[in-house]
Structures are given as structure tokens and as C-alpha cells.
């Protein structure tokens, strides 16, 4: 966990007071909506179809149990009893009243939570690997650097009125769980040949209307220079970014239009002017941040405790363990992913009761810590293996033990037309139907790792471009139509999916996915060949033929 200092606490509390005054002036008519809109957006407040939506930041996906309880409290007191975890380590409340928002913010501020820069054309929540600090083989905890960047960019005047929103993600593992290649800046923590910590810096990734996979702009930037290098990128973006056209305003368009070579030269020129300035980070600064991250006092525990050996006889436990439990850097411990994808449920939603109960379980079994991943699931990062059977039973009672992590029903979906004012088509009912179609966990395990991503419009909040199977809802002649892509991925080998053919109607989407899956099962050379391997080996044609042969 990270312990905020007095500066952070003051900042968060002052922000609440400031926003309370802004809301008061808006409701009295002193501020018009045009004047107020930018202020509310800077505090995570959108207007959706039915109500205001309130997006709260969970920096680098780390939550303490008192913070999760505070989120449950907000869901219960100010909303409709649930929250929605997003693809960028935020939580959204869909039914909040503007008049009550200052009180909700004040309640969250008591536990160090805020909504600053969760929307608007500024630096958004810096995201990271939800397994940060506990993943085996990690270079070092990427949250230390996430926190450094968070501190530097929060309310930074130069980054508060960018051409468009700006997102940074950081990973420190070979396997990228933070989707850094679809971010404006992606940072991969590495060591150079001298053993010094630094970053491979990628730039210009993003999805939406014009998707791009990020390109490497610099293979190694020393850790002490990372703020100046990021600032150099942002200065070039601030100078040349297209403020005249919202559809061309993201940095990915600038990088594409200038070309990565020219863009990197511009950044290099800027960087040389500022790298030896006060932006260079002293070791003491990093050490101070590092010292504020506390880690559990792990016990010395056996690799295979008796409790786990005995529980292995229960096939239901084993089904859950196989998909939800991952190795930990400390022997005798595990990382447990909590699926927020129950059969028939909206992906990423958790009720206030579930949040409260999960906080209790985290206190009991995970040293009081919870993580939030971009796949819209939660995780308990420090669970002793001996406690896994008891934890599983408790999670099962809460409806939080669906054994589908990384399987076909572990679907990422945006809120879609059920909530979102930008959406053209519904996403959640498609996800719900797919979880029912593939509810048989034996079948889902037989299929193996397969990620479905659903977006209800071209803005791609459900990351459909990088789904193994991607589903994009559009509107055509007043009807919801869905375009299907396959072959996308969001990890270290990130790629954009390929459209397989004409869009299909709402009622046909689940049938099409079934066809794709049946084709895969028939085409794979062996059970270990994953869906993505088959697509890579054969291309999209066999799947296209299967889907459209009878349509």
C-alpha cells in the first residue's frame, strides 16, 4: 500500500471544497453549463443517458480495505447500490445526483480517494499492472514510478489543457497486463546492461476511431530522466497536437502523421533542453516514494500446504483455482483474481455488499489490500496458499468465484447504450448472452484462453480492436448492428483484430461467436493450440467462411 503525505491529503480536501463551491454556483445559476462542464469533467463527472456518471480514480489499481468500503458506501448512499470497474483502473457510479456529488467526494477524500483528472483533456489516471509488486520475475514494483508520474502530472498546468485526453500505463513484467501498447505513452520498466533501472518508452498507441499500436520511441530512458522525457513528449504534443479537430487530436494521430522518426527527433530536441533541469529525479525522491509503499510481513510458508492438497480433491475448487490463482513472488502465497463476470451479469459490476464483504476477506486473507485490473476484475494480491480453500468458499457465497478468468466469458465490455450517451448500440446484453451461451465451465476450459471485448460505439471503451474476438456495435438505419473482428490482442504482442465481414444483428451476435468458436475447435491442431495461435496459423478466412456460409 502507498501512504499519502500531508500534501496529498491537503490537495484532495481542497479539491472537494473547490468543487462544492462550483456545484453550488452551478445550481444557483451563477455558472452556466458551458462554464461548469470543464470543471465537472476535471472531477470525473459526465452526463450520461439517465443521469450524471461519476468516475473515481484508483491509482495504479491499488485499494486498501477502508477505501473499498468507502466506495461501497458511496454506491449505497449516493447511487443505486453498485459500481462499475472500468478498463483503466477506475470505478464509475452511474446514477449520482450533482447536488450530492460534493458530499460523495468528501466521503471519499476521508480515505484518500479522489476523482481528479478522471476525465477531461488532461493526464488521466496512471495505470499499471494489477499484480505489481507481487508478480514473479518483475523488474521492480512499477507503482513506484506510477506514483512519481502521478505526483508530477496531477494539476500540472502544462498538462491540464492538452489537445485531448492523455493516458499512461506502466508494466514491469515480460507479460504485459497493463496494455501499455494501446496507451498514449506506454512504459516498460527494464534494466540496462549496467543494471540501472529505466524504461523502454512507447508512444502513440490508442484505439477509438483510428486505432494504432504504440511504437517504441526510445529503447532506454534512465529512471532519473523519465519525467523530463515524458514532459518532452507532452510539449511536442502540446505544440503540434490537432486542437482543431477532435477526431485527430490524440497523440497517436500526430505520431502517425509526422512519422515516428520525425516525432522522436522533435522529442529529442525538446528533451535535450530540459533533461538536466529540476526535472531530473534525485535518488532520494524515488527512495521516499519507495519507502511509502509498504509490503506485508510475509510468513515462511510451504509451497504446498496440507489445506491445498486436500482441497484439490474437490473439482469445483480445482476449476476455480486453475483459472483464478496465479503464482506469487513469495513462496507459499498466491495472487487471486476475483472474477466480476458472473454468468448473466454485467461485466465489471460489483454491489456495495460485495465490496464490503470483499474488504473483509482482504483484511482476513490479503493483508488488507485489493487490486483492480484493466480486465474489469479485482485481485487479492497476497493470499497464503493454505487459505485458498476457505477464501474460495467465502467468495462463492458472494457470487465472486466464477471460475472463468481469462476464459471466453471473462468479457470486457463498455457500458454501451444502456448507460452511455455516446453509444450507438448495447454492449452489456451481448456480454450477458455470451456468458449464458458459454456458461458450461468445462466447455469454456476446453476452449481455453479467449478474450472477447465489446464496445458500443467507435470510441472503443471496450477495447474491441484488441479482443481475440472483438465486437463493435454500430447503428445502421435505426438498428443495432455488430461488426466482428478476430485476432486482436492487448498484451506484449499487441495487435489489432481483422474484420471478418458484414455486421450482424443484435440477435445474431452470440450465434456468430459460437460459429467462430466451433470453427476454432475443429481447426486447432491440438488442445494446447490457443485460439490466437490458430488465427495466427490460418488467418481469418476459415472463420469468415464458417460465419458467413449460412448467412
Amino acid at each position: 500500500m502507498y501512504a499519502y503525505d500531508e500534501i496529498d491529503r491537503t490537495l484532495v480536501n481542497e479539491r472537494v471544497s473547490e468543487f462544492r463551491d462550483q456545484v453550488k454556483r452551478r445550481l444557483s445559476g451563477e455558472l452556466t453549463e458551458d462554464e461548469f462542464k470543464i470543471l465537472r469533467l476535471q472531477n470525473g463527472v459526465y452526463l450520461q443517458l439517465h443521469a450524471y456518471m461519476f468516475r473515481v480514480a484508483i491509482p495504479y489499481g491499488t485499494l486498501a480495505t477502508n477505501q473499498l468500503r468507502a466506495l461501497a458506501h458511496v454506491a449505497r448512499k449516493y447511487d443505486r447500490g453498485y459500481g462499475h470497474f472500468t478498463t483503466r483502473q477506475n470505478i464509475q457510479f452511474n446514477w449520482i445526483k450533482l447536488a450530492e456529488l460534493p458530499d460523495a467526494l468528501a466521503d471519499l477524500a476521508k480515505v484518500g480517494i479522489h476523482a481528479m483528472q478522471t476525465s477531461g483533456n488532461n493526464m488521466r489516471n496512471v495505470t499499471s499492472d494489477q499484480w505489481a509488486g507481487v508478480a514473479p520475475g518483475e523488474i521492480e514494483d512499477p507503482r513506484i514510478w506510477s506514483e512519481l508520474i502521478r505526483q508530477h502530472t496531477t494539476l500540472h498546468p502544462e498538462f491540464s489543457f492538452l489537445p485531448r485526453k492523455f493516458k499512461i500505463a506502466i508494466t514491469a513484467s515480460d507479460h504485459d497486463r497493463a496494455a501499455i501498447k494501446i496507451h498514449d505513452i506506454g512504459l516498460r520498466l527494464i534494466k540496462n546492461e549496467k543494471g540501472e533501472t529505466g524504461f523502454e518508452v512507447l508512444v502513440g498507441g490508442g484505439l477509438g476511431r483510428t486505432p494504432f499500436i504504440a511504437k517504441t520511441i526510445k529503447h532506454f530512458v534512465h529512471g532519473r530522466d523519465i519525467l523530463s522525457y515524458i514532459e518532452a513528449i507532452l510539449r511536442v504534443y502540446n505544440q503540434y497536437g490537432r486542437r482543431d479537430n477532435i477526431y485527430k487530436a490524440r497523440i497517436k494521430i500526430l505520431v502517425h502523421e509526422l512519422g515516428i522518426e520525425k516525432f522522436s527527433r522533435e522529442v529529442e530536441d525538446e528533451w535535450q533542453q530540459i533533461r538536466n533541469s529540476s526535472l531530473q529525479i534525485d535518488d532520494e525522491v524515488i527512495e521516499d516514494i519507495r519507502s511509502r509503499f509498504t509490503y506485508p510481513a510475509y510468513e515462511k510458508l510451504p509451497h504446498m500446504p496440507d489445506e491445498l492438497r486436500q482441497a484439490a480433491a474437490d473439482p469445483d475448487f480445482e476449476a476455480w483455482r486453475k483459472n483464478s490463482v496465479a503464482p506469487h513472488k513469495v513462496q507459499g502465497y498466491s495472487i487471486v483474481t476475483i472474477s466480476l463476470k458472473p454468468t448473466g451479469g454485467p461485466p465489471g459490476d460489483a454491489t456495495a455488499e460485495q465490496m464490503d464483504a470483499l474488504a473483509d476477506l482482504a483484511d482476513k486473507y490479503s493483508f488488507g489490500e485489493i487490486r483492480v485490473g484493466h480486465e474489469q476484475n479485482l485481485a487479492l494480491p497476497h493470499v497464503a496458499k493454505r487459505d485458498l480453500p476457505a477464501l474460495w468458499k467465502a467468495l462463492d457465497k458472494l457470487g465472486l468465484a466464477t471460475p472463468n478468468v481469462n476464459l471466453i466469458t471473462d468479457i470486457i465490455a463498455c457500458p454501451g447504450l444502456d448507460y452511455c450517451s455516446l453509444a450507438n448500440a448495447r454492449s452489456i446484453p451481448i456480454a450477458q448472452e455470451l456468458t449464458r451461451r458459454f456458461a458450461n465451465h468445462e466447455l469454456a476450459n476446453l476452449i481455453g484462453r479467449l478474450h472477447i471485448n465489446i464496445s458500443g460505439c467507435i470510441n472503443a471503451c471496450g477495447h474491441h480492436h484488441v479482443g481475440h474476438i472483438g465486437i463493435l456495435g454500430v447503428e445502421k438505419n435505426g438498428e443495432e448492428v455488430y461488426q466482428i473482428t478476430i485476432g486482436g490482442r492487448a498484451d506484449e504482442n499487441a495487435a489489432l483484430g481483422t474484420l471478418i465481414g458484414p455486421g450482424v444483428k443484435f440477435d445474431e451476435v452470440a450465434d456468430v461467436v459460437e460459429d467462430i468458436v466451433e470453427a476454432y475447435l475443429a481447426l486447432r491442431e491440438r488442445p494446447e493450440e490457443l485460439f490466437m495461435d490458430t488465427v495466427k496459423r490460418l488467418g481469418v478466412e476459415p472463420f469468415k467462411e464458417r460465419v458467413y456460409a449460412t448467412r
Binding site: 458551458d34 439517465h50 443521469a51 453498485y82 450533482l98 447536488a99 451479469g345 448507460y419 452489456i428
Partner: protein, 105 residues
């Protein structure tokens, strides 16, 4: 920011209403003939040509404190006078999400 009235030429293809979200709580509201807002679509003022639509929208835009983001939305009016939303988006805005909400399931 460009006013909704200036964004594009207002054309309507059939009966329409002006809808928005109430400022203090965000709920869906409809402009009434009594120059107010109602959460009940049956109380909405119906406009049937572009001039009427433009006038109703102008009146709604002027009430910035009452509701935000006003726009013209299509409706269908039955023989019995019942007003129903003219597309899926407006149907969802009127009746709520098409999925069960987690806290209610």
C-alpha cells in the same frame, strides 16, 4: 461552445419532443407546453414542424439552470394520444437500462 440552436439546421421528420437531463440530479426530463420540465413523457410538448421545434428548443436552451443538454428527439403519437419514444436510445432513456441492475438481481 456552439449553441444547440446553431449546430445544424433543425429539421424534423415527424412528431418530436425536446428532452434533456435535469440539472440538480441528472434525470431525464421533457419540455412541457407550460414552459417547464417533466419526467413524464406524456406531459411533453409535441412539435410537428421545424419552426415549432426550433422555438421549443430555444426556450429549453434558455433554461440552463433547469436542465442541461436539450435536444430534439423523435416520438410516435398513438391514436389514443399516447406518446412513445421514437428510437431505442430514447426508449432506454425513458424506461431505463435493458439489463438487470446488479443490486436488484
Amino acid at each position: 461552445m456552439t449553441s444547440p440552436l446553431e449546430q445544424k439546421k433543425i429539421k424534423i421528420a415527424g412528431p418530436s419532443v425536446v428532452t434533456a437531463n435535469r440539472t440538480w440530479d441528472g434525470i431525464v426530463v421533457y419540455r412541457t407546453a407550460a414552459k417547464g420540465w417533466s419526467a413524464d413523457l406524456s406531459e411533453a410538448a409535441i412539435v410537428r414542424n421545424s419552426d415549432e421545434a426550433k422555438a421549443l428548443l430555444a426556450e429549453a436552451v434558455a433554461d440552463d439552470v433547469g436542465a442541461i443538454g436539450p435536444y430534439i428527439a423523435p416520438v410516435q403519437v398513438g391514436e389514443d394520444g399516447e406518446i412513445v419514444p421514437g428510437n431505442l436510445r430514447e426508449q432506454i432513456r425513458r424506461t431505463g437500462v435493458t439489463i438487470g441492475q446488479p443490486a436488484q438481481v
